[in-house]
Subunit: 194 residues, 2 copies
């Protein structure tokens, strides 16, 4: 079964899913490591579901530094949702951090998919509900928590991220310098061995 | 027409809404200014839709200070979504900042409402989609923007908030001292008059 159809099944609990019809709304696209799927300030035309690999969403700040705001591993969705919904230019770039395969959905097909397959309303409702709950939690963490505690929480909640994502990019996501992150990782490993 | 039914109509574009049936899933509750609708560390049993008034969601940090993470004015929803979905204890308190009337939905009725009225899947999908898009934007703002720019953006995007919310609480939400906020407000008023 295709990973997306499996994900829909797990999230909604439904067994009656017309997988072939659902997949007909998507394009399969493959990217090499470091390829850009979306460029900042270009029209946002696609919503990506990660079949295999890893994406990051980032923007370039006033000092010319790339600031990473989100990652997406397998079974995650990624786009500049605001721009995708409104047909505007994207405020972010999206880049493959590994060789990555995605399903891409354009805005017209997103609307059609929701209209023609009511189960997809439930699927996206559940997906956003979870994402929104997590984002509230994240606001609490980044705005209030000491940085070392934030890293500890992140690494224990998302061990796969901490391993797969390049250190420099992870540091930018966490708001650390790469040197500070390296120090925290070292401490964490030492503590584990006690 | 009840504000919730009107909101569903505006969000979904649907004209065929059984308002009476939808409202039967909710309890109407009224609170005085400063009343707590939800206490931190107590079971999270309700999801609130603001009919009239204003709520804030906050927690008490390790230093005993109240930290505000969200506000809800008319037509906004508020709960600790993670706790509400899982039936766990709330990580936050919810307080009325004005005399406030809400519709309260418990978890059982939330599930029933979605099951019995498919249009509500679309309504909540759209509502979370918007909320999630806004939260991504917020992460970008709070983690990267100079504080004075963040206030400027907040005040121009949400002028009603800046007026209705007590300064001390707004300062905590923005991560400012009340004195710093007062300075920014003064500057903003002066610039407007030039």
């Amino acid at each position: 079964m295709h990973p997306l159809i499996q994900h829909i099944q797990v999230m909604t609990g439904s067994r009656e899913i017309d997988g072939e019809k659902i997949l007909s709304f998507f394009d399969t696209q493959s990217f090499r490591k470091k390829d850009l799927l979306q460029e900042e300030d270009k029209l946002c035309t696609a919503y990506f579901f990660v079949v295999k690999g890893c994406l990051r969403l980032f923007f370039t700040d006033n000092n010319g530094l790339e600031q990473t705001l989100q990652f997406a591993l397998e079974n995650w969705w990624m786009t500049d949702l605001d721009a995708f919904r409104s047909g505007r230019r994207s405020a972010y770039s999206i880049q493959a951090l590994e060789a990555t395969e995605v399903l891409a959905l354009n805005a017209k097909n997103y609307a059609l998919l929701l209209e023609e397959i009511p189960l997809m309303e439930k699927y996206f409702r559940l997906m956003y509900e979870r994402a929104y709950a997590a984002s509230l939690h994240r606001v609490r963490m980044i705005s209030r928590m000491p940085k070392n505690e934030f890293y500890e929480l992140f690494a224990s909640k998302y061990p796969e991220f901490a391993q797969r994502i390049p250190q420099k990019i992870l540091a930018s996501f966490l708001g650390f310098t790469p040197e500070y992150l390296s120090e925290l990782r070292k401490k964490r490993t030492e503590n584990r061995h006690i």
